[in-house]
């Protein structure tokens, strides 16, 4: 009908099935179309950056677990690398490889979760999510085996990793790595050619490359828009420069491309893990550092590639044991910069799917 109705306000969240946490969208709607939207965050704000100023650098590692709780390993790693660069700590070879293995495992787990929830948002009643969870479960089992925790791992340390994995870790990892490509193939068969899924995601939530770069988007969202940018290749940290892998880039920048980038990155992660398993040397897993590490006065901005994009740590040291300023560049938050433009004039269903494809973690947004 060609009648326009009165605009009204719809509060999506903070308790809503598809906001992935306590995230609120205040949407002005006209019928099924979104006229304006405003995101309201902060329900999970724990003032991490302020608390960090009262803790030593090592004591701050658990905060990075709680920030991006779906990719705790990469959060840990980001902080560890930042402090190592600031204080000039050397990391043993074996620790570097363990870091690569675990952050790639975490990437698989996180991407699986992201894609599963995206399809759930599109309306497939949890089936793909639970299939994705099958692999994630095994990865979390591996985490548990190594460091005792499944979600908030707190595994990376300044100067290495906390523990060497136990003996039974390696066969289990090998088995997982062997079966993963088949499993990912299965998802491809199930999802990639599903007509309904294609109809819901293709051409929806398109981000142009120019906008993506200008709005500081990073990670799979940026790559989905066609920009070949991955810090693992562009600014290699750890031992990524010794790994042979490709960076996956989308073409049109819609929801489907972001989905496909995450999907194809799973293969690349498996590839990296396989190489790391074959190359890993023996030796120490950690260098000893002073309990209260006192970096020289100075500041650093160090970034790595988390599953959600560039997770950066801006640390200012005044020479004391505590950071003078601790800032976490949260990719989840910054990837939302374009949300208003994406959501405006979209249908409600499209906006939900678009939000799902941005893969936000509210713990990281709010910190």
């Amino acid at each position: 009908m060609t009648t326009s109705t009165e605009p009204y306000v719809l509060n999506i969240g903070p308790q809503h099935p598809s906001t992935h946490g306590v995230f609120r969208l205040r949407v002005v709607m006209d019928g099924e179309k979104i006229k304006d939207l405003d995101m309201i965050v902060g329900y999970l704000h724990r003032s991490m950056e302020k608390l960090a100023e009262e803790r030593t650098f090592t004591q701050n590692i658990p905060f990075t677990d709680r920030a991006d709780y779906l990719a705790a390993m990469t959060g840990n790693l980001g902080l560890a690398i930042a402090v190592e660069r600031l204080a000039g700590v050397e990391v043993p070879e074996r620790a570097e490889y363990l870091r690569v293995i675990f952050s790639e495992l975490q990437r698989i787990a996180s991407h699986a979760m992201a894609n599963g929830t995206l399809i759930s948002d599109a309306g497939a009643w949890q089936t793909p999510l639970l299939y994705m969870f099958r692999e994630r479960e095994k990865i979390l089992d591996l985490f548990e085996m190594t460091c005792g925790a499944r979600l908030t791992t707190n595994y990376m340390r300044i100067g290495g990793v906390a523990f060497d994995p136990p003996v039974e870790f390696w066969p289990a990892l090998q088995e997982l790595v062997d079966e993963l490509p088949d499993r990912i193939d299965e998802y491809h068969e199930l999802l990639v050619s599903n007509e309904v899924f294609l109809a819901r995601t293709r051409g929806v939530g398109v981000i142009s490359p120019e906008d993506a770069v200008n709005a500081s988007l990073t990670g799979p969202v940026l790559r989905g828009s066609g920009i070949p940018w991955d810090l693992r290749k562009a600014d290699p940290y750890s031992v990524y420069d010794r790994m042979d892998f490709d960076v996956v880039v989308g073409k049109s920048g819609d929801v489907y491309d972001r989905f496909m980038v995450r999907m194809s990155e799973l293969y690349q992660s498996v590839k990296i893990i396989k190489q790391a398993i074959s190359q890993i040397p023996s030796g120490a897993h950690k260098t000893d550092i002073p309990l209260a590490l006192r970096p020289d006065e100075g500041e650093i901005y160090s970034r790595i590639e988390s599953p959600r994009g560039e997770i950066g740590f801006f640390l200012v040291s005044d020479g004391g044991p505590f950071p003078y300023r601790f800032h976490l560049r949260a990719p989840s938050l910054i990837n939302l910069s374009l949300l208003n433009e994406l959501g405006r004039d979209a249908a409600l269903s499209d906006a939900i799917v678009t939000l799902g494809s941005l893969d936000i973690v509210v713990g990281e947004i709010d910190r």
């Binding site: 009908m1 060609t2 009648t3 326009s4 109705t5 009165e6």
Partner: protein, 172 residues
């Protein structure tokens, strides 16, 4: 002697029709009135069933309870700023008088006239109606379909917002 089902059915349905019809008049809210109107329509369909007019009863449910009431819902929803109360005008007293007059008159006539003829019993009405519609009344049938088509087009024309009209220039 009618079968007890018919007797019970008639009184139930008549009560339903008249009671909810009265409530349509008395309801404060337009949507409440609409709900009662639908109940009244359904009761009317029940009355039709007691007259063994099964096809008409189903058509009544389909057209009145299913479509016209939904149309009214849409009309109410598309006029959001209009008041939703079911208020009366100054004509309510004449209206009530006329209603009472009509009801009394018809009732008096009905009771006073000596009606002859037994009740007919039709087994199925649907094929008889079909034959009549496409036989004896085929012209009227076609005219009715043309009327419906014109009503459809007319309704669309009426509510259409032309994008060129500057006064209602919110055309999408």
């Amino acid at each position: 002697m009618d079968s007890p089902g018919i007797v019970i059915g008639f009184y139930m349905m008549a009560g339903l029709v008249l009671g909810s019809g009265t409530l349509v008049f008395l309801a404060r809210n337009l949507l409440h009135a609409l709900a009662f109107l639908v109940i009244s329509f359904l009761g009317m369909a029940g009355l039709f069933l007691t007259l063994s007019a099964d096809f008409i009863a189903m058509a009544q449910i389909l057209i009145y309870a299913g479509s016209i009431s939904v149309l009214m819902v849409f009309a109410v929803m598309l006029t959001p700023l209009a008041s939703r109360d079911n208020g009366n005008t100054i004509y309510v007293l004449p209206g009530l008088l006329a209603a009472g007059g009509i009801a009394t008159f018809v009732g008096f006539l009905a009771l006073d006239t000596s009606w002859s003829g037994p009740a007919t019993d039709f087994t199925t009405t649907i094929d008889l109606i079909g034959n009549l519609l496409l036989g004896k009344y085929v012209l009227a049938f076609e005219i009715a379909s043309v009327l419906l088509l014109f009503a459809l087009i007319g309704a669309i024309m009426l509510v259409q917002i032309s994008p060129s009209d500057p006064e209602e220039g919110e055309g999408r």
